[in-house]
């Protein structure tokens, strides 16, 4: 191997990383559940991105709706219409944008908080770690929906509602990540290379960012996919309870409008059926994908499968 000797350390690292990604992808492709999940995710990502091409945004307005009221699915309106004559298909397509956007943004917040608190509570022994661990425990115990409701209610009305919902879901959803990352951090901290780093005088920040973080990253990634599904569910539930953004259509908002719009007494199943199915499919997609990632990245699970 004369070629490798000429390479710089950075190039070696890059090649190694590329090989690892390649191996990971080969494993992932073999996982049928994971591939089903990934296809669902790709499909919905496409729908959300291409919404302006797929459906006219005018169809979201109550006043500009053209369809018949509460028509069951037909060729013109594949998903039927609501009580204002809007096409449910149009609302579902545009709703996917808000639902996915809120889900992803809230997940980013939850993952950043969860990873920070998880790593710090595992790294810092003594009072700091203890307090952070306690905080995690508290947030794990407190039921999330009542907490989210209370937070959403007291949020300043000047903040756009959609931002408020994102923050509320992010702030209530980090605890299980933190718990997971903490456990992983504790096991990493025992390894010799951290002892070496400490012996060479590495500071806390260097240890955490250069040694612990890269090692918990795969786990964070797997957990992120699972958290997205939780966040999308939370958004749907909050919107259904009337805490969502009243100006933007999301899947939860459609369900809320259907519920308060006498969907039960008229039995118009398409009005809740299609948006509901989308929620379930997306959540299922992220769950399947996350579970597949966990199986591949967590050696403990791999042995068993």
């Amino acid at each position: 191997m004369t070629a490798t000797r000429a390479l710089t350390p950075r190039a070696i690292a890059r090649a190694r990383r590329r090989a690892a990604v390649g191996a990971f992808w080969r494993q992932f492709r073999r996982d049928r559940e994971g591939m089903v999940g990934l296809s669902i995710m790709v499909l919905f990502a496409f729908v959300a991105l291409a919404a302006p091409l797929l459906a006219d945004a005018d169809g979201l307005s109550v006043t500009r709706a053209t369809g018949p009221v509460l028509a069951p699915p037909s060729l013109d309106y594949p998903f039927g219409t609501d009580n204002a004559g809007r096409s449910v298909l149009t609302m579902v397509i545009w709703g996917s944008r808000i639902s996915l956007l809120v889900g992803l943004c809230a997940t980013v917040i939850a993952m950043v908080i969860g990873t920070l608190i998880g790593i710090s509570s595992g790294h810092f022994r003594g009072p700091t770690g203890g307090i952070l661990d306690r905080l995690t425990e508290w947030f794990l115990v407190i039921p999330y929906l009542p907490l989210a409701i209370v937070l959403a209610i007291v949020f300043p009305p000047t903040v756009p509602r959609i931002v408020a919902v994102i923050i509320v879901i992010g702030v209530t959803g980090w605890s299980s990540t933190a718990r997971l990352i903490r456990a992983q951090t504790l096991s990493i901290e025992e390894r010799p290379y951290l002892e070496r780093a400490r012996a060479l005088g590495a500071g806390h920040w260097h240890q955490m960012s250069r040694h612990v973080l890269p090692n918990v990253m795969p786990l964070v990634l797997a957990h992120t996919t699972l958290t997205v599904s939780v966040a999308i569910l939370a958004e749907t539930t909050l919107s259904f309870l009337g805490l969502g953004d009243p100006l933007r259509v999301s899947w939860g908002r459609i369900l809320d409008q259907a519920y308060s719009g006498a969907v039960i007494s008229t039995g118009s199943w398409w009005w809740v059926g299609f948006p509901g199915l989308c929620v379930v499919l997306v959540v299922l997609g992220f769950n399947l994908c996350g579970r597949a990632l966990e199986r591949i990245l967590d050696p403990r699970l791999r042995e068993r499968a």
Partner: protein, 344 residues
């Protein structure tokens, strides 16, 4: 809904700390420590409850007043006084704690009654509904999961795990909404509520009839959850040494499963059962809303529509306290049923 990751049983040993080796299940000191932990958690909830509703931007008295910004000045002054808003915050907090200790949660605006009595009126329907769903789901879910885990890879396992993962992605209330929209118009099931004044059935039967759909929608999702938990703890136990010993003794497969694997696999499930109660609360809120079930969940929804801030505050406190209490019970009971926790 619970993050799917927690379906995997975490360490089945309580994280409470390293107790020294001893015979007794729990020493008084440990009980004291656990009580203290629970109280600290409760205090945290109280602090959240106090500060969140007082850092409301603008004037808290306006946020707290039933008519918002158009409330009459006399009423605003009254609320200011009730909340003690003129005082420094530590005195406010102390006053709040004192009224909490007296069991006074303020009075609801919507119902014009003390929050405590409004909540007390609605607590039993919730316990009845969630309790029934939980009991059914635990029995069925544990049975399904144990069977699937034992015959890992069999057709039964594949079918039930796929079904469970799919159902796990369905929020309870959404399932309920599907069911009620499809079935309410057939006349077989009522569209909501707990009793029908026009019904000719005896009261208990009438309530049972109203309970079917909500219990099914809660139960099915919990069954999925518990069966996944039970399945994976069964998988963990499947190749344990003591099972090899049992098999080597010549026990039938069936006996090995029932007498040896089952009880051990059940333990992590018990822990997670109690830990998932917080999510049961969340599920109940939305399901009760869908079915207009007159419990705490529906009360929350109605309080939101107001919004009835004192009532919401009280509900948050009650929900959290309930979950904390159940966790404490789990913590205290667990060492009795799992001796490994005592020794670890």
């Amino acid at each position: 809904m619970q993050p799917a990751a927690s379906v995997r049983p975490a360490a089945n040993v309580d994280s409470g700390g390293a107790a020294p080796r001893r015979r007794r299940a729990l020493s008084p000191r440990e009980v004291g420590r656990k009580l203290l932990t629970a109280c600290a958690t409760l205090l945290f909830v109280v602090v959240i409850n106090f500060f969140l509703f007082r850092v409301i931007p603008g004037d808290p008295e306006k946020a707290f007043s039933p008519r918002g910004r158009n409330a009459d000045p006399e009423r605003l002054r009254q609320i200011r006084e009730d909340l003690g808003l003129g005082l420094p915050w530590h005195e406010q907090f102390w006053a709040y704690l004192k009224s909490l200790a007296r069991g006074d949660l303020g009075s609801s605006w919507g119902e014009r009654e003390p929050v405590v009595s409004v909540i007390a009126d609605r607590i039993w329907p919730t316990v009845l509904l969630s309790g029934t769903a939980l009991v059914i789901a635990t029995v069925v879910g544990v049975w399904l999961g144990a069977r699937a885990g034992w015959r890992h890879g069999s057709r039964f396992d594949k079918l039930s795990s796929t079904g469970a993962v799919a159902l796990y992605s369905v929020p309870e209330w959404l399932l309920g909404l599907f069911l009620v929209v499809l079935l309410a118009n057939t006349g077989l099931f009522p569209a909501g509520g707990m009793v029908d004044p026009r019904s000719t059935l005896p009261d208990a039967l009438d309530i049972a009839r109203h309970m079917i759909l909500p219990v099914v929608s809660l139960g099915v999702v919990y069954i999925a959850e518990y069966s996944l938990i039970m399945r994976s703890s069964m998988l963990d136990e499947r190749y344990a040494d003591y099972l090899t010993t049992a098999r080597a003794k010549g026990l039938r497969d069936d006996l090995v499963r029932r007498k040896h694997a089952w009880p051990n696999a059940l333990l992590p499930t018990v822990t997670l059962f109690f830990l998932s109660l917080g999510f049961v609360v969340s599920g109940a809120i939305a399901v009760e809303t869908v079915f207009s079930w007159p419990g705490l969940g529906r009360l929350t929804y109605d309080a939101l529509r107001g919004p009835d801030i004192p009532l919401l505050q009280g509900l948050f406190l009650v929900f959290s306290a309930g979950v904390i209490l159940m966790n404490l019970v789990a913590d205290l009971v667990y060492p009795f049923i799992d001796p490994r926790v005592r020794r670890s």
